[in-house]
Structure formats: C-alpha cells, structure tokens
C-alpha cells in the first residue's frame, strides 16, 4: 500500500476556505498534491449528494470546509451546512459509509497554514485507511452495469 496515492476532493466555500487556500499559495506553504478543490459560493450550497457522487466516482476521501461559525459571508450558510453534516454523518454511519473518510473543517481566509494542515492530515489519514474499494464494490459497478445494460 506504500505507493497508494489517495484521491481527495475538497468542497470549499468561496469566501473563507477558497481564499484561505489562496493564502496557502501566496505564503508558499507546501502540502500534498492529492487534493482537488471544488469551489462553491458557500458551504450552505453543498448538497451532500455531491459527496456520495464523489465516492461513487472513486474518491478515497473528502474534505468539506467553510467559514468559521459566525463568520459566514452569507450570515448562516455554514450553520446549515454543519447541521446537515451532523445528519449526513449519522446517515452515512447507518448505511455503512466510512465516516472517517470525510473531514469537516473551518478554515478562514487568514488561515493559510491551517489549510495545509487540514490537507496533510486528511491525506495521512486516508493513506492509513487505504483505497476506498468497499464503496466501489457495492455501489459503483452494479449501478454502472444496470444503467449500461
């Protein structure tokens, strides 16, 4: 498993974490290359079906990150995201999706180094967990076959 390079998708809001990741760049702080960032206006916009879709498409780990509580550009989107996350987590756990593969975090526009830490922590964690083959085994192939057939 030493050469396993996890695929990690980051769902982030435009105003805090995306800007925070920009700051990581301008501060030239290095982090693992495994993450691909997808920009949303607000964490409140993130439909958690997208997270399932990402697993469905072969992601090994997911980061969801937005503004700190009370700092939301849209006043309350991150609170909605947090509430939905709590529900989603329970649901994932119930249906057997490994909740350790999703990391929920707050990274502000001033926390460039925190973003690097969040990515590196997630990569390390997912590396330990290994490729997420279980999901693809149960979900991906049967669905593909049915739709194709």
């Amino acid at each position: 498993m030493a050469d396993f390079e996890p695929k990690i998708v980051a769902f982030v809001c435009n105003w805090c974490t995306y800007a925070g990741a920009d700051l990581t760049g301008t501060s030239r702080i290095k982090y693992a290359t495994n993450v691909r960032i997808i920009r949303f206006p607000c964490t409140g916009r993130i439909d958690y079906m997208l997270l399932l879709k990402a697993f469905d498409e072969g992601a090994d780990g997911i980061i969801v990150s937005g503004c700190h509580p009370n700092d939301c550009h849209y006043t309350s989107g991150n609170f909605h995201a947090r509430r939905r996350w709590i529900m989603f987590r329970e649901l994932c756990d119930f249906v057997g999706i490994d909740i350790n593969r999703v990391l929920f975090s707050w990274v502000s526009a001033a926390e460039g180094s925190k973003w690097a830490d969040v990515v590196n922590t997630t990569v390390t964690r997912i590396r330990e967990l290994g490729p997420y083959t279980e999901y693809q085994k149960v979900a991906k192939h049967p669905i593909r076959e049915v739709t194709n057939g």
Binding site: D22, K30, Y31, T33, I37, A54, E57, T75, R84
Partner: protein, 667 residues
C-alpha cells in the same frame, strides 16, 4: 456542440517552474469539445488577452477556460476580455494553477497531473455553463432616515443637499437627540445647542426633507432600491397645522410633576409638553400616560386655553406608507442607569448621578440654569468625584467594551465644575485615559494641569453615605494601591453607553444583524463600516457602537454618500449568480411542490410564494419564487430543496456534478 478554448498561463515562472504547462495545454487539446488549447507566458497581459479574444472570434469559441491564478484575482479581467470579444462573460472559467497548485507543490509529475485535473474539471463545467445577464433593478430615489439625533440630522441634510428626497423619522416629540442635552462639547467647549439648533431648523425647513417626529418604523418590506416602509405616527393629540406653538397649554397644564426626559429626571415637565425650548418642531404633544384627561376622563384645561382650538383628544395613530430606496439607521444609544451598581448605592443616593445628568446640571438651559447644584438639597458640592468606566470594560458587569466617550466628557465635566465652582475640589478615578483624537489629549492635560483636577488611577470599590457625605472608597494604583477615601458631596458615574432599548426589534424589522450587545452590526469592521449585511441599509452614529459627535457626523456623511451613490443610477446592476426556481410547461409549471423549506433556509428573506393561476384566475399551484433583488447567491436553498427545483446560476447542479465527475474519471 461546445467549442472550448483552453489558455494555460505560465505566469512568468510562477506556474511553469513546477508545472509542465505545455503538457497541460497538450492534454487539454485532446478533451471532447476542446477546439483550441495553448500555453503562454502571461495570459493577463495585453497580448495574452488578445490571444483569448482572437481565438474566440476566429475559432468561434463557446466557452473559455483560463488556467492561471486564482479567480479571486483575475476572474473579472478575463470575463471582461471575453465580453469584449462577444462571448458571454459567464462562459469563462478559471482553473487555479498558481495558488492551488504550482505554489504549494514541488516540481514533478504529480503537480502537473493535478494541474491537468484542475483544467479538466473546469472544461467540463464550462460545457454546462449558461449565458447569464446582469440583473437590473429599479431604484426609488427617496431615503428613509431613522433617528433624529446629530447622526440622523447630518445624514438627512447631506442626502437632501445632494438632491434626493428624505423622510426623517424620530421617536421623540423633537429631533436633536442626546446632543441637544449636552452643555458644552469637547475639546473646544463650545455650546452644544448653539451648534446643533441651526441644523435642526435647517432640517425642518429643507424642501427635500419630510420630518415625522413622534413616529416609529412599524414594518419594512422589499429590498435595495425598492423598500416599502410603514411608519407609525403616534398621536400627538393635537392638530399640528393649526397649532401655533404659543405655549398657553403647557403653562396652564395642571399636571406639572412629571420627571422630564430631556432633563434626565432632574427637572419636571407638564403632561402636555414641548421637550425643550428649542425643540423642532416647537409644538407640544400630550403624554397620554400622565394626562389627567386620559386617566380620569376630565380636565381638558389645554383645550380650553388653546386660542386656535388645536387640541384633538380623540386623534388616533396614523400609519404612513412610504416607498424608499435606501435606509439610514441612526437610532443612537443610551446610558446605563446608576441602579445597575449595587456597590455605588444602587440608585438610592440622589447625589450619585450619571454623566448625562451632569450635562443637564451644567447646561444653561438645564434645571439649575447651569449652576452645579446637587439634586438632593440644591447645595453647591464642594467636593465632587467622577468615576470613569462605570460598567464599561468590566466583563463581570457584562459590558467588556470601552464606551469610548467617557474619558473625554469626564475631563470636560471636571473642567466645567472647576470653572463654575471656584475653590471646589474635583477627583477623577480612571483606569486608563483614552484620549485619542485631534486635540483630545491636550484637552485632558488642560483639565489636569490648568484646572487642577485630581486624577487618581484606580477603581472605586464602594460608595456609601455617612453624615450627609458620600464616602467614595477607592485605591490609587500609582501609589501602590493605596486606599483612598473621599468624602464627596456629589458623585458622577460615567456609566456605560449601551444600545437603545428596542434596537434588537428594530434590527429584526430591518432584517439586519446586531451584535451580542444589541448594537447594529456593520457589514465589515474595517472596509464596510457604514454598510449593513442588507443591501441598501446603512448605519450612522452610536447605534453601531458608542461614538462621539465628530465620529457620528463623519459616519453619517459616509452613510449619506453611500445613499447618494445608490441614487446616482436609475437601475442597479447586480451579478446574476442568484437562485432561480425552475419553470416548466403546463400542466406541471414547475417541479417545485411548494414545501417552502427554502423560505426558512434563506438568510435574506429572498424567497416568496408565487401563485400560478389559470385563465379564470383560479390558483392551481403555489410555488417558490426568488426575489432577484434580495438574493445574494449563497445557495443554501439549493441544498435544502427536496425536489431539486431551485438552482443557483453559476453553480448549478449540472455544473457541480460535472466537476465532480470530471475530476475522478480517468480520461
């Protein structure tokens, strides 16, 4: 069929040092729908932009992906370039190869691979993008100013002088606010009323200003440029048009013992009253709570003596509806009362007073005509103690913030006392002297050095009464916390400036936010100090936090400029990245089922209910509808929607799913 152009930027060496840009461009060229792909040293330079523009024209591109720096940096640049070449600007997307890739990773295959992935997701997104047009909203060029203190007066005058209509509403019977109560003002010691009253008169006479005193905001609907305000004009029990303000009624009114609000309870007023002689408008109102007629059903002395028969006992409140385009909130502040301080006597000693009460004692128009006399027995105090930070900067009292104005007005009070009571002794207990401001520090030094005010750095633990004196127990921390006991004749507490009662309800009516101390919240503490989170609503003065007069006036003028900017256009242009509810052909009309979960999710009250009617006017379906003027585009409703009927332009389901799918699928 999409025709996408990919433009990979080297950013000098910022990107190309770690990312193989040529390989990125080459790989992108192989994607479905990509008809043009190129790398170039500086995409944002003029030649770089020309490259994009000519490709759009020559290749007939339907979408553009610029792979360069963060979209937070150059998205407007490239979208503008696309628009100039005739491509809808929202068909241009940026892949962030610099901040999110080249700057944070070492040179290597993994980095180039990541860059390729980032380009691919944006290519897939842009294929699903739609042309969008900026939203235009009309503007009603009338401003509503709430609060007629110095901030509200200044904002009203500035807006009115820039040629726009203003409706100014004030809760009390007269405009003027706290500034009209002040004696002299720091740091120049000029008379407060002398500089204020001309402005009050100007407000009353200005042709662009409609003044409603004794009025409050009842409700507010709408959005920037298009608010609908309901204003409750409380009954003055008087026909203002007939009343000449002669004052017969106020002299003859038999109820004379009501504590005067204007004099902070130190003077008395009648039940029909004008709050102070220079009031604007200078016409009385009847205080129905204290008027004998309203309590017992008889009296009517005022009606009998009124030469113009202007009294209207049966007058009711009226509601005025006004359409306004912008709102300035200038509702001011209030001060904590001494009954908040058990250690300082809990309000039971009449000679322990607030700073605002001292202003009335020192004012020539006050209850003592400007002589410093103590409220209990009218004697001139020979020793007076001022206590700064009474409540302020005290987390145990729930007021951790600095009230900001106290250091200065205490110095002024002490100075006025020394000027008026020769041979009197004054003491100031303080924590720090915060005299930041033009000529402020000099003013405080003057109080200490020229007027001989004794400044003692330390807190007061207790005030108690003994043999007719108020014993002030404190400590001098500059002398090693040496206990100091002063047998004072009068004590003035610089009680904390706090939010007005009802500020929370007003904020809720306006749909703006307020902080944990119930002051109104600005949109950004540094760069948007007069704006609120609600577009079109601005703040002026101490309703945002305690402020002195120059600051309030500056803020009011700032808010006025913001209003004038808004009113300088006939239509407002906004980014079209907002939510929309889908509409379909009959008989479905929309996949929206009308659960209105989105309504509760929306932080901006931007979602309304829309009725779909048939030809005979019968309602067939009620669905959600997004008000484009209010929607700020957060997309929280989108994630909430059970039937996926609401979507957000620029971040649609289709676009976001394409991104996720493109990211992980091997090409």
């Amino acid at each position: 069929m999409s025709k996408i152009g990919v433009f990979v930027c080297h950013c000098g060496e910022n990107i190309s040092a770690t990312v193989d840009c040529a390989k990125v461009a080459e790989t992108a060229a192989g994607y479905d729908g990509v008809v043009y792909s190129i790398d170039y040293k500086y995409m944002c330079s003029d030649p770089g932009q020309s490259l994009i523009k000519s490709a759009i024209i020559e290749k007939g591109l339907t979408g553009v992906v610029v792979a360069s720096c963060s979209p937070r940096m150059h998205e407007p640049t490239f979208r503008k370039a696309c628009a100039e070449a005739g491509l809808n600007p929202y068909m241009c997307e940026m892949a962030n190869l610099r901040e999110h890739c080249s700057w944070v990773h070492e040179k290597g295959d993994a980095t180039t691979e990541k860059a390729i992935d980032l380009v691919r997701i944006l290519v897939e997104k842009v294929k699903k993008n739609h042309s969008l047009n900026a939203i235009k909203v009309p503007v009603t060029k009338t401003a509503l100013v709430i609060g007629g203190g110095i901030a509200g007066i200044q904002a009203s005058l500035d807006i009115a002088n820039s040629g726009h209509k203003v409706i100014l509403i004030e809760r009390d019977p007269s405009i003027g606010g706290h500034m009209s109560q002040l004696s002299e003002t720091f740091p120049t010691l000029d008379c407060s009323q002398c500089i204020l009253t001309p402005r009050m008169v100007e407000v009353a006479q200005h042709e662009n200003i409609t003044l409603y005193t004794y009025a409050e905001l009842e409700s507010l609907e709408g959005f920037v440029g298009n608010f609908k305000a309901k204003i409750r004009r409380k009954s003055k029990s008087l026909d203002e048009k007939i009343c000449t303000g002669c004052g017969q009624c106020t002299t003859k009114c038999p109820v004379k013992k009501i504590p005067s609000e204007f004099n902070e309870g130190l003077g008395k007023r009648t039940a029909i009253y004008v709050p102070f002689p220079q009031a604007v408008p200078n016409k009385p109102v009847i205080d129905r709570v204290n008027c004998t007629y309203y309590i017992k059903g008889k009296c009517k002395v005022c009606e009998i003596v009124c030469p113009t028969k202007a009294i209207r006992f049966d007058q009711e409140d009226t509601i005025v509806e006004a359409e306004v385009g912008a709102i300035v909130v200038a509702t001011g502040f209030t001060v904590k009362q001494p009954d908040f301080f058990p250690e300082y006597g809990f309000g039971k000693y009449p000679d322990v007073i607030t700073g605002l009460q001292f202003e009335r004692l020192a004012s020539a128009s006050g209850p003592t005509l400007g002589e410093i006399r103590r409220p209990s027995d009218g004697k001139v105090p020979e020793k007076i103690v001022f206590i700064a930070c009474a409540g302020s900067r005290d987390p145990a009292k729930g007021i951790p913030y600095c009230s900001k104005i106290c250091c200065m007005y205490i110095a002024k009070h002490a100075m006025l006392y020394q000027h008026k009571v020769h041979g009197g002794k004054s003491y100031v207990f303080y924590m720090d002297i915060r005299a930041g401001g033009k000529m402020y520090e000099e003013f405080v030094r003057r109080a200490i050095e020229d007027d001989g005010v004794n400044y003692i750095r330390g807190r007061v633990s207790r005030i108690y009464e003994k043999n007719g004196k108020l014993i002030v127990k404190g400590a001098d921390t500059l002398l090693g916390a040496m206990p100091v006991d002063i047998d004072a004749d009068m004590v003035v507490l610089a009680t904390a400036g706090i939010a007005n009662e009802g500020s929370e309800e007003l904020a809720q009516k306006l749909h703006t936010s307020y902080d944990s101390y119930h002051f109104f919240s600005e949109a950004h503490p540094k760069l948007k100090p007069v704006e609120t989170n609600t577009a079109g609503i601005f703040l002026a003065g101490a309703c945002q936090s305690p402020k002195d007069i120059p600051e309030s006036v500056a803020m009011a003028s700032g808010a006025a400029v913001k209003v004038a900017c808004l009113f300088s256009q006939d239509e407002l242009t906004r980014e079209p990245l907002i939510a929309v509810v889908n509409r379909q052909a009959a008989p479905v009309f929309s996949s929206c089922v009308g659960c209105f979960l989105c309504v509760s999710a929306c932080p901006y009250q931007a979602i309304e209910k829309e009725e779909i009617k048939n030809r005979t006017g019968e309602v067939i379906k009620t669905i959600a509808k997004v008000n484009p003027g209010l929607c700020q585009g957060c997309g929280t409703c989108v994630a909430f929607c059970r039937t996926k009927s609401i979507d957000i332009q620029g971040y649609t389901h289709e676009e976001m799913y394409s991104e996720v799918m493109a990211l992980l699928n091997e090409y």
